[in-house]
């Protein structure tokens, strides 16, 4: 994708086209638009969808966060702080006024824990001291992508023994910001991996049904209808409950994605089948057949390029459903289990009344889910509108 806009009609350097009128009809002689492939046309059309453009950046940002989770999270997500249970969110300040004037450096105000002797409720009070922070400072050590040891973080306290809580802390004093960032990794990747499964099943089965028709079509259609008629949540619950809790996080993660995508492929199969059915009758596909193109060439060279954009749009709209499904399962305690961290797992900890009263910030992962799902939906809408750049 390039940022080049479709150039306006430029006079020089065009081959002269045969004149079909007297002076010729107004031809699309702009060279840029004339040689623009479908992806470039789609990009031009997509760019006009403002909300989708914003969403594109949001989604991009979210995945970057997930990829660089270890670096961006200030602390180890599992590290607890005995003196930080239900610590409320703090604001990072930049303008530091001291006796010697002021300077620009990030800091938060230090707090002291108080316990109300009657209600036993924990409150935090400013001590007046400052906890200075630094960018790219050293903190908890971690293994970047499991490959090499690192201890630099994006923003950490200068003194590694101190802590700060941008998103607050949970019951055990674990930093919610770090946990939400780590949670993005599992929650977002489950959407992608799940959609890959769906895509594989959906495109293969839908494509076969649409292209071959006849008995294949009937069988695939009936299977799709059967799957769609299953009550989704009970089936998920039953399947998820059947997974032994002793399995490792990785195995469990894999099976949860499988379960979640079990339903997702049907919609894709239908979309692909419908497209194949209508494309099969298009003149240019018949022309390819009469050009003696092989079956494979007709499917992969002539039909699939017309479908990819639609498939991408459908996939984008399917990802948020996967993310929501994982969140729901984990929230009910049947999906991923602690110590795995996903947004659903984090929300599970906000299940009881105590959390609502003592730490409403425990719902921040829920906000992350909402933002992600909305961004994907807007992005999908934009892609769907741009998917067929040839319709006017």
């Amino acid at each position: 994708m390039s940022d080049k806009t479709p150039p306006e009609a430029s006079a020089a350097g065009h081959p002269q086209l045969p004149d079909d009128g007297i002076e010729g009809p107004p031809l699309a002689t702009e060279r840029g638009a004339a040689v623009a492939s479908q992806w470039r046309l789609m990009w031009w059309k997509f760019r006009r969808h403002k909300l989708a453009m914003v969403s594109l950046f949001v989604v991009f940002g979210l995945y970057l966060t997930a990829i660089f989770a270890e670096f961006l999270a200030p602390f180890d997500p599992g590290s607890t702080d005995r003196r930080g249970g239900f610590h409320p969110p703090q604001m990072v300040r930049f303008i530091d006024r001291t006796d010697d004037g002021f300077s620009i450096r990030p800091y938060v105000y230090d707090t002291k824990r108080n316990r109300d002797p009657v209600t036993l409720r924990t409150t935090y009070e400013r001590t007046g001291d400052k906890v200075y922070l630094q960018f790219f400072g050293k903190g908890d050590s971690y293994e970047m992508w499991g490959l090499f040891e690192m201890e630099r973080h994006f923003l950490v306290p200068v003194n590694p023994r101190e802590r700060y809580y941008l998103f607050g802390a949970d019951r055990l004093g674990r930093d919610m910001l770090s946990r939400t960032i780590y949670g993005a990794r599992l929650s977002l990747s489950i959407g992608l991996v799940g959609v890959m499964f769906s895509l594989f099943l959906g495109v293969t089965l839908g494509g076969l049904a649409g292209y071959l028709g006849g008995i294949t079509d009937t069988v695939v259609q009936r299977v799709v209808e059967f799957v769609l008629s299953l009550p989704t949540i009970p089936v998920w619950l039953a399947l998820a409950a059947a997974l032994p809790p002793s399995w490792s996080i990785e195995v469990r993660y894999f099976f949860i994605t499988l379960i979640v995508s079990l339903v997702g492929w049907t919609e894709l199969a239908r979309v692909v089948r419908g497209r194949f059915l209508s494309l099969k009758k298009d003149d240019f596909v018949i022309a390819a057949r009469l050009d003696n193109a092989s079956q494979a060439r007709i499917i992969f060279r002539h039909m699939l390029p017309s479908l990819t954009s639609h498939i991408i749009a459908s996939v984008t709209l399917a990802i948020p459903l996967m993310i929501l499904a994982e969140t729901a399962l984990s929230f009910l305690g049947l999906g991923l289990l602690p110590p795995a961290i996903s947004w659903g797992v984090l929300l599970k900890e906000a299940q009881d009344v105590r959390s609502i009263v003592l730490g409403p910030w425990l719902f921040i992962p829920g906000g992350a889910v909402v933002i992600t799902v909305m961004a994907f939906n807007f992005l999908g809408d934009g892609l769907r509108d741009a998917a067929d750049p040839y319709s006017q």
Binding site: P15, Q16, D20, I22, A33, V35, F284, A288, P305
Partner: protein, 590 residues
């Protein structure tokens, strides 16, 4: 002329008594992201009581946008930028006339809504999409009447039935309760006209009302409109691209091109002595199609020559199976082609003419091996002299047949893969048949493009950058890429504007000479067939009713259906209006 709006005083200036609608300096623009499309640019004309004004122009000339501007039903982002549209409006209670400037009314105002349908009614090209499929014809007419006049439902119904009767719909009291889909195309257009006439409009705008119809149906509709005009005395604005229709129905003609009026005049004068070069060119290209192409050798020379038969169709039938029904026998199938036999001689062009539903396209597709025939044979004897039966072919033999017998499609937009460049599209048959690769392939594609009159540089462009005629040239290049012997043209020129039509036909004739091709030319347009073909087969309901030399079939037909078909074709000569003298064909007559 540069002043967009005339002062108010001029608007109120008197119009000549018989002028009902006066359009002056109308400009309608469509602003796009990069530039402004001037769809209608400084257009002026008048509509007079009891007269038909034809707006004629090719696609993109702005004729429909002009009509839509008058009613203010423009699609976004279209906007009237300037000009005055004055309408002599009879008030709701018919007390005195007033002159209204339609451009001064808001597109969603009550005033313009009162004018739409009551003063100015419009009929559209596609009767199926402009009538509601979920309401009966009667309901739709009654609604229109009651929107504009305070009458009771039963009164409105009586009037609706009367209107349907006036529009020559059989059994109007039954038809009033029918749904749109129960009507044929011609009947739908009649119902549409009945609806338009329901409030006695002063102006009827007809936007290509007969373009989607067969010629015989078109003749009926034109008849009806002429008759209704005499009895209602309204002004008709008739938009069309067909000079024949203009000659048949117009009193005055407005010729448009690229959003501008190039010429206005009385019909006889304009046809006899066109002033503008474009009008001349338009008329010439229509008149050119009235007879055999000059660049072709004489018909007798081709028919008399002792040439071998290259393709023979024997008793070919194609039946579309009926819908499977639950626990019952499947519905009876449709016999699209029945027992057709044809022969195509080497170097000859055989025309297949018929109206929609005659099976001509199905026949062409069966010969092109797109669809297998239900019965009968297609026998092909190529250069090598071996006769093959299409039905027996498969695998490499079928591929060989498809290399020799090629097809050009009707729709220049749908037949080219929008996601491949023109070079890739033309290279596709060469690549698939291992004719050439690499630099040789590129050179061959360039050569093919040049043969169809496109510069080789366009290879890297995508089809969306080409006009209809240019796309059709690409389609032709693809068809001749494998040096075929037979080319089947399925309505290859019917989607093109008339001035481009003859250019494409001439290109085909030249290629025929150069490459020694034989054509099967399928068309609904007699003119094109007469221009291009040596022999003609006339098809009706899947059967060939007449087959003979083009000159004979097109001027002295034997079969009554062919006679009816020919006499319904409008000719571009307003002094010899012949449509009302046409012969009608009915089943009993055969």
């Amino acid at each position: 002329m540069s002043d967009p709006r005339l002062p108010r005083a001029t608007v109120n200036a008197a119009l000549p008594e018989d002028v009902i609608l006066d359009v002056r300096n109308l400009r309608t623009y469509f602003p796009t992201r990069t530039h402004v499309v001037k769809a209608v640019d400084d257009v002026s004309f008048q509509l007079r009581r009891g007269r038909t004004t034809c707006i004629v122009g090719e696609s993109g000339s702005g004729k429909s946008i002009t009509a839509r501007s008058i009613l203010q039903i423009l699609d976004a982002p279209g906007q009237i930028e300037g000009g005055v549209i004055r309408l002599r409006s009879t008030g709701r209670d018919a007390q005195g006339e007033s002159i209204v400037d339609l451009t001064s009314l808001h597109p969603r105002s009550r005033a313009i809504r009162a004018i739409r349908g009551r003063d100015i009614a419009m009929i559209f090209q596609e009767p199926m999409s402009s009538l509601s499929p979920v309401h009966t014809i009667g309901d739709q007419i009654i609604e229109t009447i009651r929107l504009h006049e305070p009458v009771s439902k039963s009164e409105a119904r009586t009037r609706a039935i009367e209107l349907l009767r006036r529009c020559e719909i059989r059994d109007p009291d039954i038809a009033v309760d029918r749904y749109t889909f129960e009507f044929s195309g011609g009947m739908r257009q009649r119902a549409m006209i009945a609806m338009a006439l329901s409030c006695n409009p002063q102006v009827l705008i007809a936007d290509e009302p007969t373009t989607a119809l067969d010629v015989t149906t078109q003749a009926e509709i034109l008849d009806l409109m002429r008759e209704l005009q005499t009895s209602y005395g309204m002004a008709i604005m008739f938009i069309t691209h067909d000079m024949g229709v203009v000659a048949e129905i117009a009193d005055d003609v407005v010729v448009m091109r690229h959003g501008k009026v190039v010429e206005t005049g009385e019909v006889n004068a304009l046809f006899a002595d066109p002033q503008h070069a474009y009008t001349k060119k338009l008329l010439d290209s229509v008149i050119k199609l009235e007879r055999r192409a000059d660049i072709k050798p004489a018909e007798a020379a081709i028919l008399g020559a002792d040439t071998p038969t290259i393709l023979a169709v024997r008793d070919l039938s194609v039946t579309f199976p009926g819908q499977a029904r639950f626990l019952r026998k499947p519905a009876p199938g449709v016999h699209a082609v029945r027992q057709v036999s044809l022969e195509l001689k080497k170097g000859e062009s055989l025309g297949i003419v018929g109206e929609s539903g005659s099976g001509k396209t199905t026949l062409g597709r069966a010969i092109a091996s797109v669809r297998a025939p239900t019965e009968g044979n297609v026998l092909y004897r190529g250069k090598d002299g071996v006769e093959v039966d299409l039905a027996d072919l498969n695998g490499p033999a079928l591929q060989a047949y498809r290399r020799r017998v090629r097809m050009i499609f009707q729709d220049p937009y749908g037949s080219l893969n929008p996601r491949m460049t023109v070079g890739q599209i033309v290279a596709e048959p060469l690549r698939n048949n291992n004719v050439a690769t690499g630099a040789a392939l590129r050179a061959r594609v360039a050569d093919l493009l040049e043969q169809v009159g496109l510069p080789a540089e366009v290879m890297e462009r995508y089809p969306h950058a080409f006009s209809g005629g240019q796309r059709q040239r690409v389609g032709i290049a693809r068809a001749i890429a494998l040096e075929p012997e037979v080319v089947i043209c399925d309505e290859a020129t019917s989607a093109l504007d008339v001035s481009i039509r003859s250019q494409v036909l001439d290109l085909l004739i030249e290629l025929q000479k150069k490459l020694d091709l034989s054509f099967i030319f399928i068309a609904h347009d007699i003119g094109v067939v007469r221009y291009f073909c040596d022999r003609v087969a006339v098809m009706r309901l899947g059967e060939v009713v007449e087959l003979g030399p083009a000159s004979q079939v097109c001027s002295a037909p034997e079969h009554p259906y062919t006679k009816a078909l020919l006499s319904a074709v409008p000719h571009p000569d307003p002094t010899a209006r012949s449509m009302h003298l046409r012969t009608r064909y009915s089943e009993e007559a055969s």
